[in-house]
């Protein structure tokens, strides 16, 4: 045990004033930063969330999503009881059926006729038993994970270069570096706390340089000294050119190369084959900018290259990863303070899943399934017979196999592939066709759960218990502070119960996560002796009490040598057979996907305040206010050519599918490209599932889909009626052609549109409001402009306010939504509801920028008008940006925008 782990994991952090409930140390369930959280449950049921100042990932910081976790733990929409074919059944019936159907499929069609599709949101212990069951006992490697969609190329790149999937550095390196290259990552929104750490480090050490490589001028651009607005998939060429430049400018670390690596000459030769003209052509960057970046890199001894999905989600993702690693190996900038290639993961436990072998092409404990010695180690450790001997199906291939009938029984845990996988409509069709689908989930209805024959209720964050590993190899505990609701059970329990029923009682007899963790830790140390990177053997005999007290620690944590620098490879020691690192000769050719029919490149990604398919973040009205509907960000010049106006609806489409989204015109988006966020599903929008358009094109090495370079066309959508509504209750019934639903503090809001006309607006309004009983109707009609508004009242309360127009609706939405809280004592005052903006003396906060403290853009502008000079002053005046800091870039953007306007 490390020294830190002696302090209590559970402590009473009694507040100074109001009595605070006992708090539990746990870890955030969102991105891969893995922030520590102090969570407490008040006797009344409300939940308090604060950052854990002692957690080395965040030192007390939280982002907007983490800060709002307390608003996402309600039981609305939860799956609370096992179901078979939509009917509630006892657990035993459901588990018996799952075991029986899997066993039958295996007996009739062999082990490869079944599959698990799991998730980076599972805890390590859940993941461990799922992998153990499939690879060790069922005897197939058909277990893959949604980490395939975000991390597989990094894993593959690491393994090619290092011999194992090792992240060499630590978060601290970002703060120690002289140059941080952020490539293919919108750190400001997707890893906000790391971004905050970087921001603070740069403020403390202004000589630090930051280079952003991204087709879009994202919010991360605000920290960048240099932004390279690269063409999609131009990165391999850019980094090949960098390697050639390093060699040409005598910045090679020849000692390191000679002593610790192989393959340099071939890699350099491949890199040198690219002329500068070719690099300019492939990246779309001016030669001067490329040269500036190369000089910055060559001259900064302490360089960290941080990257995520923009690199990984590519048909050449693995090559891109290796092109980056090549440059770090060539300069010896790896595993040293302030230097190294750094992959940051998108999920809370992508790393933990990789550690236990959650990918179809890995075994367990970072061992290789193709390696007979490794198979022998694991087989003996598990006591398994007939373990898998070859890689299983990777995600895209796995669902293809489901679709063509090769998979007879499929178990999906904690993920939503109907929304998140490429060619998502085909995934949906595959699930519909599959003879037996089991889904373990916390939600009763998702686009995936609705296709399940058996639904198993899982515990949610705050209820479940185990460990996660963050992007810097730091293992932290997720601890329960809420009681399990209904009959929901942890995922490890689901798996073990089915395993026992399939005849593997002995191997799956665990009393709880501590026992599973202990076994996992023991396996990492089993016959390791320094031969494998992953070793937490020091925990091989951890007791339950110690597990419960466990403090965050970084691996390796080898038996008998618990302390020391946790970085890897500063002095070589790679995990290839000859222990030498490998340069990879990279194919830098950029795929050209655009055509006359589909001339625009689609990029997909996250927004600041939503997470994955929004099953949790959409519960929070604060998080829902930042981006309320699917949008298509595009350059104003492209929009002009296509006849698309700001705020109108557009159709984004290709041969795979169609999405309807709001046009957001911005010169942050390069010409010829569009961006659509990945979050919206059929649960909260009509036609918002962007992954339906992503073709099942994968990286040949990693199997990761290419979600950032998709050929589409965008067209203006003829809309008869645009609409916006706020509603006290979730709208139901017959929805208009387009709709997107968001939570408000007093109910819901809906953006909607009808392509053919909504008909009588009052009838439409009543139907959407689901108004039962006596309602009072208020109408506004400006026939000449086509503007119609309807408000419905019941018992002095607004139950629905609707705005219809032939043009996009321009009103103060936040203000209208607030009216859901008003009690209209004098009914004659209530017509103001459909004014769509506040009267004088009732300022409209505007679009919410700071979701923690609910501060809007109009308030920020007013404070700037009032003399606040900068973002710090805004923070003092309004509190905006002072909690999680995730919005500070946006506040700065507002200030910059005004400065620009003033200068003009």
């Amino acid at each position: 045990m490390t020294k830190a782990s002696e302090s209590e994991g559970i402590s009473n952090m009694a507040g100074r004033e109001a009595p605070e409930p006992p708090t539990v140390r746990t870890t955030c369930p969102y991105c891969g930063v893995g922030c520590g959280i102090l969570a407490g449950r008040h006797p009344g049921g409300s939940v308090s969330i604060t950052g854990d100042h002692e957690h080395p990932a965040n030192f007390g910081r939280l982002c907007s999503k983490g800060s709002a976790l307390g608003e996402t733990v309600d039981l609305d929409g939860r799956l609370l009881f096992p179901q078979v074919d939509g009917r509630r059944v006892p657990w035993d019936d459901a588990l018996d059926l799952v075991a029986q159907r899997f066993s039958e499929a295996i007996a009739s069609h062999g082990p490869d006729s079944v599959a698990f599709y799991v998730s980076g949101q599972l805890l390590t212990e859940d993941y461990y038993v799922a992998n153990k069951l499939m690879k060790g006992f069922i005897g197939s490697a058909n277990i893959d994970t949604n980490s395939r969609l975000c991390m597989a190329s990094s894993v593959a790149g690491h393994r090619r270069a290092f011999g194992t999937d090792t992240v060499p550095g630590t978060y601290e390196d970002l703060e120690l570096a002289d140059l941080v290259v952020v490539t293919g990552s919108n750190l400001a929104w997707c890893h906000p706390v790391l971004y905050q750490r970087l921001l603070a480090a740069k403020a403390a050490r202004p000589q630090m340089r930051v280079v952003l490589i991204d087709p879009r001028a994202t919010m991360t651009d605000h920290i960048a000294d240099l932004h390279l607005a690269i063409k999609a998939d131009g990165d391999a060429a850019l980094f090949c050119g960098l390697l050639a430049h390093i060699a040409a400018s005598s910045h090679l670390d020849r000692t390191y190369i000679e002593k610790h690596t192989d393959g340099f000459a071939a890699a350099l030769a491949a890199a040198r084959a690219l002329s500068l003209d070719e690099i300019v052509r492939q990246t779309g960057l001016p030669a001067g900018q490329i040269g500036e970046f190369y000089r910055l890199f060559a001259n900064a001894e302490r360089t960290v290259t941080i990257y995520s999905q923009g690199v990984n989600q590519s048909s050449g993702g693995t090559d891109k990863v290796n092109a980056i690693i090549n440059c770090h190996l060539a300069t010896g900038r790896i595993g040293r303070p302030g230097a190294g290639p750094f992959s940051v993961t998108g999920q809370p436990n992508a790393m933990g899943g990789r550690e236990v072998g959650g990918l179809a092409n890995m075994l367990a404990s970072h061992m290789d399934i193709e390696n007979a010695a490794h198979r022998d180690i694991v087989g003996r450790f598990w006591g398994s017979r007939g373990a898998a001997e070859k890689s299983g199906l990777k995600a895209v291939d796995l669902f293809r196999a489901v679709g063509d009938g090769r998979i007879k029984a499929l178990w999906i845990m904690a993920t939503n592939p109907v929304d998140s996988l490429p060619d998502a409509n085909a995934v949906q069709a595959a699930l519909e066709a599959c003879p037996f689908v089991v889904v373990s989930d916390m939600m009763a209805d998702t686009d995936t759960v609705r296709h399940a024959h058996v639904r198993l209720p899982a515990l949610a964050w705050g209820e479940k218990d185990g460990t996660v590993t963050n992007s810097e190899r730091r293992i932290s505990r997720q601890r329960a502070f809420l009681p399990p609701p209904g009959e929901a059970k942890p995922d490890w329990w689901h798996v073990c119960q089915v395993a026992r029923r399939m005849g593997y009682s002995e191997a799956f007899d665990y009393a709880g996560p501590a026992e599973i963790y202990r076994e996992h830790a023991a396996l990492t140390g089993f016959e390791n002796n320094g031969s494998r990177d992953l070793d937490i053997g020091a925990h091989a005999a951890i007791t339950k009490a110690e597990f419960d007290r466990m403090m965050p620690f970084q691996w390796p944590l080898r038996q008998g040598q618990p302390d020391g620098d946790t970085r890897f490879f500063a002095d070589g020691g790679f995990y290839t057979t000859n222990r030498r690192g490998r340069f990879i000769a990279v194919d830098a050719a950029r795929p050209e996907r655009m055509s006359d029919a589909f001339p625009l490149v689609l990029n997909t990604g996250r927004v600041r305040d939503h997470w994955h398919t929004m099953t949790r973040t959409a519960k929070s009205h604060r998080l829902s206010g930042h981006a309320t509907e699917p949008y298509c960000e595009m350059h104003p010049d492209d929009a002009a050519v296509l006849g698309i106006g700001a705020g109108t609806l557009v159709r984004v489409e290709n041969a795979h599918g169609t999405v309807v989204a709001r046009a957001l015109l911005s010169d942050r988006q390069a010409r010829g490209s569009v961006f659509v966020p990945m979050h919206w599903t059929d649960q909260n929008s009509a036609r918002g599932r962007i992954n339906a358009l992503v073709p099942p094109v994968i990286d040949p090495v990693s199997g990761q889909p290419a979600s950032k370079n998709v050929a589409v066309r965008v067209a203006a959508l003829p809309v008869a009626h645009y609409g916006y509504a706020v509603l006290a209750a979730r709208p139901g019934g017959d929805m208009p052609d387009y709709w997107a639903l968001a939570r408000e503090s007093g109910g819901w809001s809906v953006e909607f549109a009808s392509f053919t006309g909504v008909g009588d607006v009052s009838t439409r309004a009543r139907a959407m409001a689901g108004a039962a009983g006596e309602t009072e109707l208020l109408t506004y009609r400006d026939e000449a402009t086509g503007s119609e508004r309807v408000a419905l009242f019941q018992d002095s309360r607004l139950i629905g306010a609707f705005f219809f127009s032939q043009r996009p609706i321009v009103i103060a939405r936040a203000h209208v939504a607030e009216e859901l809280h008003t009690v209209f004592g004098d009914p004659r005052s209530r017509c103001r509801v459909v004014a769509g903006q506040p009267g004088s003396g009732r300022p409209d906060p505007g679009r919410i920028v700071c979701s923690c403290l609910t501060v809007g853009v109009n308030q920020i502008n007013a404070a700037l008008d009032g003399g606040c000079p900068d973002a710090d002053a805004i923070g003092r005046a309004l509190g905006a940006g002072t909690n999680c800091g995730s919005c500070r870039s946006e506040i700065q953007a507002i200030i910059n925008e005004r400065t620009t306007q003033a200068a003009e």
């Binding site: 916006y724 109707l777 109408t779 506004y780 009609r781 000449a784 402009t785 996009p808 903006q837 853009v857």
Partner: protein
Amino acid sequence: MKQKLVIIGNGMAPGRMLEHLFERAPDAFDVTIFNAEPRVNYDRIMLSPVLSGEKSFEEIVIHGDGWYIERGITLYKGHRIDAIDRDAGTVTSDQGVTECYDKLVIATGSVPFVIPVPGNDLPGVLTYRDLDDVNAMLLAAQARSKAVVIGGGLLGLEAAAGLKERGMDVTVLHLMPTLMERQLDSSAGYLLQRELEGRGINIITKATTRAIVGDGYVEGVKLDDGTVIPASLVVMAAGIRPNAGLGKAAGLDVSRGIVVDGCMRTSDPDIYALGECAEVGGEVYGLVAPLYQMARVAAGHLAGVPTEAFQHAETPTKLKVTGVDLFSLGDFAEGDDREEIVLRDASAGVYKRLVLKEDRIIGVVLYGETADGAWFTDLHKKQADISDLRDTLIFGQAYQGGASADPMAAVAALPEDA
């Protein structure tokens, strides 16, 4: 040497004219006033609150006796002028007083229209014009019996509401399908009818009076369908006519009223006319705002200071019945070249309608919530282009400017950056 100014009539228009005149040319005239009513100048608009009991007469006096004394004005109370001798430059009252004038102002107001039906002269049949009429109604109301008001216009409804307040059982007979049809569209007229009926006033629309019946005293009103509505008091409120007889007798040009030019001069340059008796630009007026404008114009001209000529302007109407908020302005007939914005909240009793033509307001009807009447009047008067205000126009001045909609709201609350 001061000139001699004689004024016939002591209503609100000449009262206001004198205020302007004394301000601009305090020493120019010796002023003599003949008032057919035996009292000082009072606010005739406020007679309805006196009728309903919300105000006393003293509270609606504009110029008390002291005001006249301070300015050296001779006021003959209860003197009706019978004749004007333009050649001699004199006027003579029914009480035999004759005064010379250098300048004469005729401000004889209007007379109520008494519908030509049998029995319209029976005792108990009143009009609604001055304090005497109010006092007579109050006397009749003491019997707490039944009253019929003929005419569902502004005056008639105020009278009806006042009499109801005084405890009478009141029925309003209105010739047209909806109340106040000259000021309200049918929707607002209907809301108003519902409101008044809710207060216990009976309202019969499309009601044509055939006769007023009674034996020596009014007993009821007979409609042309034969129905007889019992009543011990009948108030005629079926409109007014300019009181132009004196001018006509004096040989001045008279059409509907005494014809004046933009400076309020009649066809005799020494004689002015203003108020409800005057006709300017082919229009006669009954509401206070244009009458006050006439007063300002006439005073300026008498004082010899340059003054803008009288300009026609639509004048808003408000119904002075407590708890009924109603405002009407301009023209609200439908037409191909007209656009309208309508806001309705029937259960809250709110109705607003704006009639627009070429992005200008030409008509306004507000019912239930009238606070923005003055603002609409101003926009209407200025013929302001409202296209930039249009989306919030009907909600009034508080919704303009200042709290502008978030510009990003145009793209559906999208993030500023992505």
